[in-house]
């Protein structure tokens, strides 16, 4: 099978910190339009995997191919520009800027020094910002300073900032941590909506939430893949129950 | 010039470099504790060295006036007093100033620069603008000639010994004592250290003061190779910071190695070039290396 059928093809990926292998010869494929959820106990290497894909950590070996292009040698901003967006575990937004500015800065135009100097917030940019703001439910908060938003709204804003870039692969690290039940429902709906024309990788611990959104689930343990497949199959896998879900 | 003469000059220049090495290392050690361990940019570190140097001068004057017979011995006591005085001032500085500025490293830099200006003016008002030199004990002067045409100054060897002693002491304290354990715990995780009952505030103050105390000893060593003025310390501050960064901020071994490297480069190139060009050459070399390898020589591998 050719790798080009997948949006993301990770093969034999390894990273070690002073001999400790946080990711150990890991192989993973993500389809176009797929929403993949990665679960696993703490320290399984889930966040490290995302770090590797987006270039925050450099791999010791193996390959990461995005749309058939090797990513492991690229700088972070080049990876982003080729279409991978990443949300961090704790909401990472510009607290001192307004919601509008947060989204505007994330608009993928004027990314060079002189491009940024010449950048004008034209009508199409404004329209896009309003569109995204409506999507994440912050349409009436555009002028609010981002730091004043609630925790859940901050999480949404960061997702919105990623949507501004219209990435083909969106990676979310625990997007619903610290959210209320209602917020979780809204987030699940949001993820379903935005997944329609892109692939996503989501790290999550909340099993109900995972059930609701996942197309396929990957269980990681000690830097390796323990099981992979649809949620109900994975849920009944004795190995998974053993190390993660519990009896 | 014959080969052996060349060799002798090379050796003597090397030994001259050892005195500079000692001062740089003592400055660097104190700073490695304050900057490398605590992350505080102490621009007044040079002035703590000056405190040590003036202490030697004061005690030498006192000894000469009141107990001339003790002149050969005062130096040992003076070194300890230099440490204690610099320690005490450091303790107060931490209490009055530094403790408000943790986690704001660039602001610490400005505030301690202010502190250094104030201290310089105090020195100037107290001791005058002219440089002073203590009367060194007889036995420190003169030189040792193990071979024809080879003179090794005794003060250099004494300072060298003192430096080795202090370095060993710092290593032992940091890696073998309770205090060292507390410092290292506080450095790697302040909140956790607090939670398990380490008084991090007290640890900080102690650490800062010890770093300053060591600078005081550096001042004592300094008096054997130069005369002391209000701004003597500030001449060494950049070198001291470079020693620490070049060695890799958190590595004491790196501090030792880089102090040696810098002092020897400076001292040996001084033989071929003018003093100022030797300095330029040394600094440029360090800057270039730091640009290529910003983490310094002995960086710890940190999982980020």
């Amino acid at each position: 099978m050719s790798n080009s059928d997948f949006v993301l093809a990770i093969e034999d990926l390894t990273v070690s910190f002073d001999g400790f292998k946080a990711i150990d010869a890991l192989t993973l494929y993500v389809d176009k339009g797929e929403l993949r959820v990665i679960i696993g106990p703490n320290g399984a290497g889930k966040t490290t995997l995302l770090d590797l894909i987006c270039g925050k950590t450099k791999a010791s070996g193996g390959s990461i191919k995005f749309k058939n292009n090797e990513m492991t040698k690229l700088a972070e901003h080049q990876i982003v520009r080729s279409g991978i967006g990443r949300k961090f575990q704790t909401p990472s937004i510009y607290e001192n800027l307004s919601v509008f500015k947060n989204l505007e800065v994330s608009f993928p135009r004027g990314r060079g020094v002189f491009g940024a100097l010449a950048f004008k917030c034209t009508d199409d940019v404004k329209a896009r910002i309003e569109e995204v703001a409506a999507e994440i439910g912050l349409a009436d908060q555009l002028n609010t300073e981002a730091g004043l938003l609630s925790h859940g709204q901050k999480q949404w804003l960061e997702i919105g900032m990623l949507l501004m870039q219209d990435p083909e692969l969106l990676m979310l690290d625990e997007p619903i941590a610290g959210m209320s039940v209602r917020e979780r429902e809204l987030t699940a709906e949001l993820l379903e909506r935005i997944c329609r024309n892109r692939s996503m990788i989501v790290i999550e611990h909340d099993m109900d939430f995972v059930k609701k959104i996942a197309h396929k689930v990957t269980v990681m343990h000690q830097g390796k893949i323990l099981a992979e497949g649809p949620m109900d199959k994975v849920q009944n896998d004795p190995k998974v129950i053993d190390v993660y879900l519990g009896h | 010039m014959s080969a052996s003469e060349m060799w002798n000059i090379f050796l003597m220049q090397g030994f001259a470099g050892l005195s500079l090495f000692s001062v740089l290392l003592l400055m660097g050690l104190g700073l490695a504790i304050i900057f490398g361990q605590m992350g505080v940019i102490n621009m007044a570190h040079g002035e703590f060295m000056t405190i040590g140097a003036y202490t030697i001068f004061m005690l030498s004057s006192l000894t000469e006036t009141y107990a001339p017979t003790l002149t050969p011995y005062y130096f040992f006591v003076a070194i300890i007093v230099a440490f204690i005085l610099a320690f005490a001032v450091g303790w107060m500085a931490e209490w009055a100033l530094i403790r408000h500025l943790y986690r704001r490293p660039l602001d610490t830099l400005l505030a301690t620069w202010g502190l250094s200006l104030g201290m310089q003016q105090i020195f100037r008002s107290t001791f005058g603008a002219k440089e002073v030199s203590p009367t060194l004990p007889e036995w420190l002067l003169g030189s040792w000639a193990p071979a024809e045409g080879l003179d090794i100054p005794i003060n250099g060897m004494f300072v060298m010994g003192l430096t080795l002693l202090v370095t060993a002491g710092v290593f032992l304290m940091l890696y073998r004592s309770r205090w060292g354990l507390r410092v290292r715990a506080t450095v790697s995780n302040r909140t956790m250290a607090n939670a398990i009952g380490i008084n991090t505030k007290k640890t900080d103050r102690m650490t800062f003061a010890i770093g300053c105390g060591i600078a005081g000893v550096a001042g004592a060593a300094f008096t054997t190779i130069g005369s002391t003025g209000p701004t003597s310390g500030s001449l060494y501050i950049v070198d001291a910071f470079l020693v620490v960064t070049f060695g890799g901020a958190a590595s004491l071994l790196g501090t030792v190695a880089s102090a040696f490297g810098i002092a020897q480069t400076q001292s040996i190139s001084e033989f071929f070039l003018t003093g100022s060009m030797a300095k330029v050459l040394t600094l440029l070399t360090i800057i270039t290396i730091l640009m290529i390898r910003p983490q310094g020589l002995f960086a710890l591998k940190v999982r980020r």
């Binding site: 982003v80 607290e95 001192n96 990314r111 300073e145 900032m161 | 400005l110 003016q121 960064t245 800057i287």
Partner: protein, 408 residues
């Protein structure tokens, strides 16, 4: 009156207009040419302070080597002026006429090759802008691409300042050594030492300074300005939004360096000499305090800060030389501990709320321009001014550095 006060309170142009009045009208109208020349000298330092607002306040990058760029700009200008002052006729008593006097004193018999191009004014102008910028580019590129920042950057720039000052002092024959390049007389035949020349240079300098302020203001209001603030607080988020963070840092460092070079050149023109005493570590850190006193986020504040510190320095070091260093020490410590936002911060928290508040009782002749901090309630600026400014991306005082609301 009320309208004026409201405008003063809300528009960020107001600060610039008031400063322009002070610089172009009040000072030239009230002080003699000797003092005005002094003010002109201080205003050349203001270029450095304005650059530091961009670099340090907005970019979060503290350079302790801005004197290097100021010095390079100044030396480029001084070299041109010195060559013009060293024509063979006026230097005929030298053993080698036609070369600068200090070269002659150092037994140099021929003009060094790298001095030659400085006979041309266009070259000198280009050099005074580009030499600092290129050096900043090299240092910045090497450091920022390797993600060296913060304290390490400060230490390296400080070392660069030390290197350059030692080099200039050491290479007497080529640089004039510790005395610097002195006795600058004419520029293309125009005597820069006369009173009329000093007036013209003062105004030229002021115009350039306002040009610099407007340029920086434009950068602040562009997306690049927003990105600088964003980078200062969440560098990784900017990087993972597809920006090459290092490029922006290099840009702002180069911008600040170029401004320093311009300031240095205007210094050489107005004061008539250039010396290494503006290059080393001490002057470089002193320049940081100008920006800090004015308010590290405020371009206009930086100019006031520069003027205030330098007036203070001149006054005290003449009258109470002993006191001056203590005062300077207090400034450094105070501005960090008590007033992290400097003069601009005080203005934001005391004057501005008062300006905005008193438009309510419209009937009474509200107190005129006499602004007394005591008369104003100590309302935090955010409550009154925040909604109007939310889009303007003013950073709040919440972060650890305590960087406060911006005034342009």
């Amino acid at each position: 009156m009320d309208k004026l006060k409201k405008w003063l309170g809300t528009s960020d142009m107001a600060g610039i207009v008031v400063l322009a009045l002070v610089v172009f009208v009040v000072l030239p109208g009230t002080v003699d040419i000797f003092r005005l020349n002094l003010v002109g000298k201080y205003l050349t330092y203001a270029f450095v302070a304005v650059g530091l607002v961009m670099l340090w306040g907005y970019g979060g990058i503290l350079s302790l080597g801005q004197g290097v760029f100021f010095g390079l700009g100044g030396y480029c200008m001084a070299m041109f002026l010195k060559l013009e002052a060293s024509d063979p006729i006026s230097t005929k008593i030298q053993s080698t006429p036609g070369i600068p006097d200090f070269m002659d004193w150092n037994q140099i018999t021929q003009l060094p090759i790298w001095w030659e191009p400085f006979r041309s004014l266009p070259f000198a102008i280009l050099a005074l802008l580009l030499v600092p910028t290129i050096l900043a580019f090299i240092v910045g590129f090497a450091m920022f691409k390797r993600r060296v920042g913060g304290v390490y950057f400060a230490i390296i720039t400080q070392a660069v300042a030390l290197v350059l000052s030692v080099l200039i002092i050491g290479q007497q024959g080529y640089t004039g050594g510790v005395n610097g390049i002195t006795d600058l007389k004419t520029m293309l035949g125009w005597d820069i030492r006369t009173d009329s020349a000093k007036y013209i240079l003062y105004f030229a300098n002021a115009v350039l300074l306002f040009g610099a302020i407007f340029a920086c203001r434009a950068v602040q209001r562009s997306k690049l300005g927003t990105l600088l603030l964003a980078m200062r607080d969440k560098e990784d988020r900017v990087r993972f939004s597809g920006y090459d963070v290092a490029n922006f840092k290099v840009f702002v460092f180069c911008l600040a360096a170029m401004l320093c070079g311009l300031g240095g050149a205007m210094f050489a023109l107005q004061v008539g000499f250039m010396s290494p005493s503006f290059v080393g570590i001490v002057p470089s850190i002193e320049m940081v305090i100008f920006a800090a006193v004015g308010g590290r986020m405020s371009l206009v504040g930086a100019v006031y800060g520069t003027l205030l510190v330098n007036f203070g320095k001149t006054y005290f070091s003449e009258t109470f030389p002993q006191l001056w260093l203590f005062l300077m020490a207090a400034l450094f410590i105070g501005v960090v501990l008590a007033f992290p936002n400097g003069i601009a911060g005080l203005y934001e928290s005391y004057v501005k709320p008062w300006l905005l508040k008193s438009k309510a009782p419209r009937d009474t002749g509200a107190p005129t321009a006499q602004v007394t901090p005591e008369a104003t309630p100590a309302t935090p600026p955010r409550t009154s001014a925040a909604p109007a400014r939310a889009l303007d991306s003013a950073p709040s005082g919440k972060q650890p550095d305590g960087v406060g609301p911006a005034v342009a």
